[in-house]
Symmetry: none
Subunit: 202 residues, 2 copies
């Protein structure tokens, strides 16, 4: 998808990342970066600006969205026959089709789905997610990630060390991009994508 994001339209209503930018972002994400700090965002955007216009907020949102969608990615994994479902409700202009969540990764939040979330801030969401499932054959298996220890950002800053703990999903730090399906596409529509931080041209 996305095809050659050559940024066709001149209408810059919203940021339209170039292929290179997406590549870099994706690699960073796969390398483990999930919530870049302000400084990191700054640096990333600065570097991405070499491929086209970008602002820090774009980078910020990009990571926000990716992380959120990665986690919240549970479309349909049941029913493998028939049509892949399609809601039936006919929209009336804007019915939205967010399908029913299914909480695939969530461990066991006392809450149901998203509803009884009133001001019961007591029952936190238990941010424990089933850490990386198993091996994803379709994944590259942790390339020499620290080949160069890219200098752009200390790498250790966002290195798996930290994130791992926060999300409790990196038992051994062997988790690269594990699930993500839509990411594959994004990354796959490009060359082999040699996962390597040093490829950031730094």
């Amino acid at each position: 998808m996305e095809a050659l994001s050559g940024r066709v339209g001149v209408k810059c209503g919203r940021w339209n990342p170039t292929a290179e930018q997406v590549k870099v972002l994706t690699e960073l994400f796969c390398a483990g970066l999930r919530t870049p700090s302000t400084e990191q965002i700054q640096r990333i955007s600065t570097h991405l600006s070499a491929f086209g216009k970008v602002e820090s907020k774009n980078v910020f949102y990009w990571f926000q969205n990716h992380k959120a969608r990665e986690r919240h990615h549970h479309k349909k994994r049941r029913r493998g026959a028939s049509s892949p479902d399609s809601g039936s409700n006919d929209d009336d202009g804007r019915a939205d089709a967010a399908d029913e969540a299914d909480a695939d990764l969530v461990l066991q939040p006392p809450e149901s789905k998203r509803e009884a979330r009133s001001y019961g801030h007591h029952h936190r969401l238990m941010t424990c997610y089933v850490r990386d499932v198993v091996e994803t054959e379709t994944m590259w298996e942790r390339p020499t990630r620290e080949v160069e220890t890219l200098e752009l950002f200390p790498l250790k800053s966002y290195d798996l060390e930290m994130d791992k703990v926060r999300y409790a999903r990196g038992g051994g730090g062997e988790h690269q991009c594990r699930e993500i399906s839509f990411f594959d596409v994004a990354a796959g529509r490009d060359p082999p994508l040699e996962l390597r931080l040093c490829s950031f041209g730094l």
Copy 2:
């Protein structure tokens, strides 16, 4: 784009402020209100309820978010261009380079007397909004409440005690309370607090 009234989703899962409510809140914010006290929150929410359903916690969160995002959110900075870009260099290769300097932390007052607030600050604030919890089930039918009272709050309450020092910058500005979008505001800083609450005509 679609200007205001973007309130489409009528789904009441989370508070969706109406244009009027946002207007009032924004004006208050621009007037200098940053951390309303429990009582102020109460009054504000009471007044806002004239425009639609709203709970104290919503007001509380609103201010929290606004304050936080005002500071946060990565720079924006442009090279003198006005209006949301326009052609300009839109080629890959080299957008801007020297621009990425950022400095959105310009505000951030020295938290010296920030704690002057009476209420201890821990989780207590949350307890402030527990009164107006009307039956959310009902259709909060009461558009006309008491529009005559109009005395939101003395204004001195949150008035320029210490808040003043924060945004009392230069003052050469003449930006009114615009419908900010934080990303921009971060760089523009606040307007003069010459706002008189009476303008909240609401």
